[in-house]
């Protein structure tokens, strides 16, 4: 891995995965430490096209996009930041694929570029401590690292508050998915755009890291989604739209459980599978049909 003592000036952050699970955190943290940060562009066809020849063909779409973002940073940043997400919430875990992320990138796409990494495992230590450790490993004084970490976590909480405040619409559709698919410009954005054009309101859940009660799953994002659909007031929402990416491992299992919950509660539930060949026509037609059928149900 990277020689953490070396003075690194620009740290590249791919606009994928952990950029969305910790909104605003990484930029704020590294800038507070005195580094420059470079964020990759928003996802798009170009990012994906560049990634496809290099990425593993059996990865999920979100992972392919991550590889694309990583590629776009190479040569522009002195180092790239790839943490190992193991757990965001106590007693819960993240997708297994994240456990190999730093090494797989170092061996594959990011070969030759220093990789800054840290294990994020809420089951072992809280985020604040992890960040302070990372700051110290990067050669910064403990005091500065602590300030930077506290400040950055504050920024993340404000970001969440902003997301929460944006949800005021009436009779919205609940969009379900991962933070890194819902907010991604290539995966979630076209769905949101289409809903807007059709004049439908929608809500995206805010995936904070606060404690979660035990549920059917140990995956934290899925635990939150499960709680949402089991507890959501039926009269408040028009229905649930699940945005899933092709070849997502956890999705393939959990969506079956969600479907059962939605069926038993009478929640209209649509699964949109987004893949790398997405021409939007298919997705748009399905959304229109879903919205139509809900309207008919109401009449």
């Amino acid at each position: 891995m990277a020689d953490s003592k070396k003075q690194v000036f620009t740290i590249g952050i791919p606009r994928a995965f952990y950029y969305y699970t910790h909104p605003g955190l990484w930029e704020a943290f590294f800038q507070n430490l005195g580094f420059k940060t470079l964020l990759s562009e928003k996802s798009g066809e170009k990012i994906l096209r560049n990634a496809v020849p290099h990425t593993e063909s059996e990865h999920c779409l979100a992972h392919k996009l991550f590889d694309g973002h990583l590629l776009s940073l190479l040569g522009k940043a002195d180092a790239v930041f790839i943490p190992r997400l193991l757990s965001l919430t106590k007693k819960h875990i993240c997708c297994a694929k994240f456990a190999a992320l730093p090494e797989a990138a170092q061996c594959g796409i990011a070969r030759g570029t220093p990789v800054i990494t840290v294990d994020i495992d809420e089951n072992k230590e809280p985020l604040l401590k992890t960040l302070i450790r990372l700051g110290k490993n990067l050669g910064k004084p403990a005091r500065l690292a602590k300030n930077a970490a506290e400040n950055a976590i504050q920024t993340m909480h404000e970001e969440w508050k902003k997301q929460q405040a944006a949800m005021t619409a009436e009779k919205p559709f609940l969009l379900l998915g991962h933070p890194y698919t819902l907010h991604d410009a290539f995966i979630g954005e076209p769905v949101k755009q289409k809903l807007k054009r059709m004049g439908h309101a929608f809500e995206t859940p805010v995936f904070t890291h606060e404690k979660l009660p035990e549920s059917v799953t140990r995956w934290c994002t899925f635990g939150r989604m499960h709680r949402l659909i089991t507890e959501m007031p039926l009269e408040k929402y028009a229905g649930a739209i699940q945005i899933s990416t092709f070849n997502c491992g956890p999705d393939s299992v959990m969506l079956e459980f969600y479907r059962a919950v939605c069926r038993s509660r009478g929640i209209p539930y649509l699964v949109l599978m987004i893949d790398e060949h997405t021409g939007n026509a298919g997705m748009e037609t399905r959304l229109e049909a879903f919205a139509d059928s809900i309207q008919w149900k109401r009449v």
Partner: protein, 364 residues
Amino acid sequence: MEARMSEKLAIPNLGNYTIALDSAVRAMGIEPWSSTETSAYAMELGLRAAPDSLCLPFKAHLGHFIEADNAGCGHALMVNSVGSCRLTYYRGLIEKILKEMGRKIHVWGLGFDGIKPPVIRYFDPDMISFVKAILLAVEKIKVIDTLEIAAWKTRPLEMNRGDTSHLLKRSLRELAETNVKKEVRKLHSEFAKAFQNIPQDTSQKPLRIGLVGEVSVLRDKTLNHHIEECLGHLGAEVRNFFLLGAELGNIFGISVGGTKTHTRKYLAKTAKPWLNHPVGGHALDSVAHTLLCAEKGFDAMVHLAPAGCMPEVSVRPILSAISKEKNIPVLELSFDEHTSALGTLTRVEAFMDILKTRRRKGLV
């Protein structure tokens, strides 16, 4: 209680190790139902009932249990896990799908939740026969490991193609029918001798190939299209890195047969420069064994994974980097319901050609 014992219990598919589990269940007085490889019929049933995007082992398992239900089994066993891979949820999902299909079969988890998993509590065999059954199974696992290792060694050297596979099959059948521990022990030494008696061309120096990857495709011959046999007949001495004896040794720290060589800790230490954290499943083992094999002078590795396998696919870039740096070719094979036996064979043949040329030109 008597009624319970007369119920049929379906055994999960663990390749040849099914034989050991089968006889353990029988020794407890429960009637087992099992097969050492997923049948084509079970595969078809599983494909029809399973969600599309799940991995091949899930579909095979589901089909196996539907077939068991058809055969009149009231109960089934399934290996559980508490890891980070989606296998954790497979039992629940299979149970849900079977229920929706209106099937009556109950799937029990054979997991790591205590010495007495719920299934044992349900069937409640008396302690003596339970312990005896476990000991018998362990004895059989030892024999199966010996048989497998002997077959891998003799297959590339045999003068008459098929001798080894034939003997292996016959021995396994004989083992399945023997249910006294003492006689199993006797068979153990007889089998070892029988493999030595196969006419062999010992002047050859076969290529050595390690098989790593996900357990189901490593062990289920239907899923991997008999890859051990393919490689053996093409002249390779295979070493499959899932031996149950060794695996039990790794998990419980006990020695089962002569195969306890790599503890979890040791594998993690070996893999460390390349992979600093377990990924779930046997992905870390794949990395560690590839490194160990490169050191031991193996000619190549074959990495088997079901298509879309979360842990194994994640470590592919790492294996490919190891391959380049340690100069050990790694063949990546993915298996799903569309993978054909012939396609696999063609790829394996091409790989073997390359390896043979490599050796002939002295590039190793």
